[in-house]
Symmetry: C2
Subunit: 340 residues, 2 copies
DNA sequence: CATTGGCAGTCTGCACTTAAGAGTGCCAAG
DNA sequence: CTTGGCACTCTTAAGTGCAGACTGCCAATG
């Protein structure tokens, strides 16, 4: 069994290794920390930690580095989160405030998070499935090209481009728009989809084709509503930490650029009671991200629902600081987007 | 003066160097191409090319690599563009078609371009400044939080979140929305901004504050209209070509992630009569991108205006293929977004 | 005057050796 | 349980030598 001091040793090994990227030896530990015991004693503790597979030696005779399991134990012990530095708080504050486009808010948020953590930051778009149709607008872009815009009462705006094979005129489209608004306004998404599927029946055969196309585009739009998107920033940080990866970071970057992968990863994370979750190293192996750790937490959106944001970086990262940053940013974003 | 054959030699040096990343020697040239002269003759030509600073030797006694100036001459000579492969054409075709969100269209376009070129691809959002207001929608998200949505007849949709300090009720907001639509519908952007600045005067003092906030958000929105954005894909490709950069690619990636830099770069490019432009190596030095080349071209948007798209990658890139791909993708995107 | 073959000279890249340094594991003693 | 000591292992850096590649120059040739 690992002793109390053993866990302390694990802690300093993680700290030092994260700071220096060098395997940590017993000597340097007794030099830099006041354990009150000799290097040989530390070595005995380290032998135990190694038996438990919390640390490992890269070469027969070198210092130790934490294993994924070691990081896991370390993170679970991280009860006391280091508070953010004043500079970091200030960065969040200045970022806040001022009116802005939703895209801009999410864009700024993700850049902020990336700067605070020096990692790749991710913010999932609000999902907002429990919303109601507020307004539908049809815009004629060219003689047979139409853009549909859908606005919901939770603030989601969806647009879509489509080709209707028939030629349409503005007047017809305006009239169609009014009828759609009269029919759909205030409906929930599921009801709206159903109503839309019946909608073209009201029209004479000559118009039904075009109306049908528009209606099915709107249905797609209504149902695709849940289809999440991500914004990402700070991929340069991954390159900066390139040496933390055994091979090339190219496949890692590729995996990260694949939004589908990340959304699946987000979906499979199991949040604790605070909505926070940490996934370390091999726990992400099935996503091609076996050498990275992912920290995510939920944030509240105006639909009263929850989306996620977080960071992804090499297993060897500053968990303490990054967890604090992710939490703080989520708190601020919730305040900005959520219901008061 | 560089002879005709000298330019041929330059061409094969660029080709071979791009393909192999190895300095090209006189021997390998006579082995691989049928110049009908001996290696010594090629060496004489290379000496001339070196005098003109079109090629350079990394070490005293090694093969030659093209200089930025050499690439420039090479690109200017590229009259005959290699047509895209059938597979590449097919990729563009399948990507086309099916209704889609504007964001999705641009997102797919940029991913497509990145895959075709194996470089970082960029697409600028349509600017659409010559458009007219189509519809304004106000959505109450929380008691004092409002989202404004602006739709123009060119298909641009802008949303914005703002806090009005007063508490508002739905009814008031709905009424305000109707009045705004009545006032602004059909106006051009400049007129709309002017009209909006006078708008709050119509309201009693008790309401003027809230209305003023909403109006100024809309003004921002109308005027910020030109403020362009970019979508980007394929940063992983930059990492793959890491060895083409003298130092770390970290600063390069940082520069590329800075949208402002890229927009400035886009703005300063000088298109030829086809709207195409190539900027090579040191020509981009002021943007921190002195070791990259940028290929861009315009595409038509529904406003009848032109935005740009292109790729950015190491100076050592396959110009012929990439130029063809950028042109082809722009053509397809124009067809998709532009007026028929 | 362009072209050619030959040859000396230069530089890189790789394999190999050597030396220094850091750290462990183990043991016997406190 | 802790400690000091010591032999052993392994990495890293630096230095050496050699093979290979390419150029530059020159004198000869058509």
């Amino acid at each position: 069994m690992v002793s109390e001091r053993g866990l302390d040793v694990l802690r300093v090994i993680v700290q030092d290794y994260v700071a220096s990227r060098e395997p940590v030896g017993s000597k340097s530990i007794v030099d830099r920390y006041s354990f009150g015991v000799s290097a040989a004693t530390i070595r005995n503790d380290m032998a135990l930690l190694e038996e438990e597979e919390l640390i490992a030696a890269p070469h027969t005779s070198s210092g130790r580095i934490p294993t994924d399991k070691g990081y896991r134990v370390f993170v679970n012990q991280l009860a006391d989160l280091r508070p953010l530095s004043p500079a970091q708080r200030a960065a969040i504050e200045t970022f806040l405030g001022s009116s802005a486009d939703l895209d801009q808010v999410l864009g700024r948020t993700v850049r902020l998070l990336s700067q605070l953590t020096h990692q790749v930051a991710l913010v999932q778009y609000p999902s907002l499935s429990r919303s109601r149709i507020r307004h539908v607008e049809l815009v004629l872009l060219a003689s047979s090209r139409v853009m549909t815009v859908l606005i919901t009462d939770t603030g989601r705006v969806e647009q879509r481009l489509l080709d209707v094979s028939d030629e349409l005129d503005e007047g017809f489209l305006a009239q169609l728009g009014s009828r759609l608004n009269a029919t759909l306004g205030g409906l929930g998404l599921a009801e709206a989809a159903e109503s839309l599927s019946l909608f073209p029946d009201q029209f004479p055969a000559s118009e039904a084709a075009a109306v049908g196309r528009i209606a099915s585009a709107l249905i797609e739009q209504v149902l695709a509503h849940r289809q999440d998107r991500l914004v990402m920033a700070g991929t340069a940080n991954l390159v900066r930490t390139e040496e933390d990866f055994s091979g090339s970071i190219y496949p890692v970057l590729e995996a990260i650029e694949e939004q589908v992968t990340l959304l699946r990863l987000f979906g499979e994370m199991e949040p604790d009671q605070n909505g926070f979750s940490v996934s370390i190293g091999k726990e992400n192996a099935s996503f091609g991200l076996g050498e990275t750790s992912v920290l995510t937490t939920g944030y509240a959106t105006s639909g009263g629902e929850v989306s996620r944001l977080g960071v992804i970086g090499p297993t060897r990262m500053d968990y303490s600081n990054n967890i604090a940053a992710v939490r703080a940013v989520a708190r601020y974003l919730s305040r900005l987007l959520g219901e008061d």
